[in-house]
């Protein structure tokens, strides 16, 4: 790889990282929010490396090809480095979409972690809940506090077989490679189009014994409302919806 190509590659990769993490929120499609400062620092560093290489290192022509006398040959990068153009250009020009219903449909049903005690549920109705909290309440709360309560959850639509559908969240721990999926099966309304973001209100769908593992993570839907996709979609946050 020649000098010009190296300069181009370093600058493009730096710009790509800055574009995704500093100028836009695109990085949230790929990695967790906490990596943002590191991505910005990396972008600046790569940009500086590229500019420094352009400014300080004169092109020495083909001379170093045969000059091993001064040891390591830094002026040509290995051919494999060309592959780095793919993520750089992809970040700048052709950002892949956020993960959605396809990934969720292929994921297994994650079992929720054991939770020891449960606090009393707030009295507000509908009660905003995360998908994980709802599943944990339904399957582990021996007090069965969730019985009869109207809850509100937000997520996107993952169609299943035979008209069934799930309200879904994909959660990143670090990046899209470790994505985990939580799903709540929805009853009582036909499936909306895949990947639609919804706020759903409803009550627990009676199936299995509430407060035990046999209880289904499922909801009888009373109402749905389209919402905009959250900026940081890959968490399982409480629904941030204006009070009506």
């Amino acid at each position: 790889m020649k000098r010009t190509a190296q300069i181009t590659l370093l600058i493009l990769t730096g710009l790509g990282l800055l574009h995704t993490a500093l100028f836009t929120d695109l990085y949230l499609r790929y990695v967790k929010e906490g990596l943002r400062p590191l991505l910005i620092i990396s972008g600046v560093l790569l940009l500086l490396l590229g500019l420094a290489h352009a400014a300080f290192d004169r092109d020495t022509g083909g001379k170093e090809d045969h000059d091993h006398a001064h040891g390591h040959d830094h002026s040509t990068a290995p051919r494999i480095a060309w592959l780095l153009f793919l993520p750089a250009l992809s970040l700048l020009l052709y950002a892949p979409p956020a993960l959605g219903a396809y990934t969720a449909a292929h994921a297994g049903r994650e079992t929720v972690k054991q939770q020891k005690g449960f606090a009393a549920l707030p009295a507000t109705s509908p009660l905003p809940m995360t998908l994980t909290d709802f599943t944990t309440r339904v399957q582990q709360d021996k007090e069965r506090a969730i019985r009869g309560r109207t809850v509100e959850m937000t997520g996107f639509v993952t169609p299943g077989h035979g008209g069934a559908w799930d309200l879904t969240r994909i959660i990143f721990t670090c990046c899209a490679a470790d994505a985990q999926t939580v799903k709540i099966r929805m009853y009582g309304t036909p499936a909306p189009p895949a990947n639609t973001w919804l706020a759903v209100t409803g009550t627990w769908h009676t199936q299995g014994a509430l407060g035990t593992k046999s209880a289904a993570a499922a909801l009888d839907v009373h109402g749905t409302r389209s919402i905009a996709q959250p900026v940081n979609a890959f968490t399982d946050d409480l629904p941030l919806t204006p009070t009506r």
Partner: protein
Amino acid sequence: MPKTDELLDVTEAVAPAAVHPPERRRRRLPRRPPPATAAVTALGLAIAALVLSGTPWLNGPAVAAWRTVCLAITVQALPFLLLGTALSGAINAFVPADLFTKVLPKRAVLAVPVAGLAGAVLPGCECASVPVANSLIRRGVTPAAAFAFLLSAPAINPIVLTATAVAFPGSPAMVLARLLASLATAAVMGWLWLWLGRAEWLRPVVRHTGHQHGHSRFTEFRLGFQHDFLHAGGFLVLGAMAAATFNVTVPRSVLDTFSGSPWLSVLFLAALAVVLAVCSEADAFVAASLTGFSPTARLAFMVVGPMVDLKLIALQAGTFGRAFAVRFSTATTVVAVAAGVLIGGALL
């Protein structure tokens, strides 16, 4: 002037007069691009054509998910790779050559566990440790000790251990088991290299010669950093592509098939750690979510993951050579699974 050059001058009537004869003669040689360059160029052109034509195939859900995961692994790893290659460049340019030989015990057998413990000071995930280990070897550290460092650093640094404690609340034994099993694997692999390793498996890496008299240290650092980053970065992309392929194509329902059998589940989760290539800072959370599996199987997942996975194999093949990467990764997997089973059986 030799006769050949005059002949060349006849054919090259417009040659710039300032060029010195020996250099001009070299330029006259036909420069055909090597096949690999041609292949990569063709691949790049093909991808560019696909992208520009806006083919629906590239936006199909499976391909889109593959592109997302592949880019996510690369983006997530880039800061750590930069850290690793910057450290490697700094070790080469600024650290005196005899520092490591002074600090580490003289006998290689003792240097191995010391280097393994030293891995605790490199914060970050596994991508950072490959270039650093390489620069240690170039500065005269015995390869066995450098490999112990390479294996232990991503698994036992404070960030990863804290993440493990957070992911497994109420079971501090898991953190201890991960620390011990990772250290044991790193030390055993170092000793194994002393016993069976052969220098010819390693790509000759003596080209980096450290600080040269008369050169600016900072320029040396900058150029070494840049070269190592571009080199490792290319292999990172290759590894991310392989890992994304498995990530998207292996359905998670396969998990349920293996969770029942205690022995198969250990082997299966070890294999899963290799193909998923989850960053070592996040793998504890993935392990915690595999609730159907025994604690020992989940420990094996966390011990193997930071030491062997597809992107690491690609990085190692690029840095140390393919002959090394294949043998080293295979042996590490075996040792890591054994350590996970023994220590997991004792503690969990």
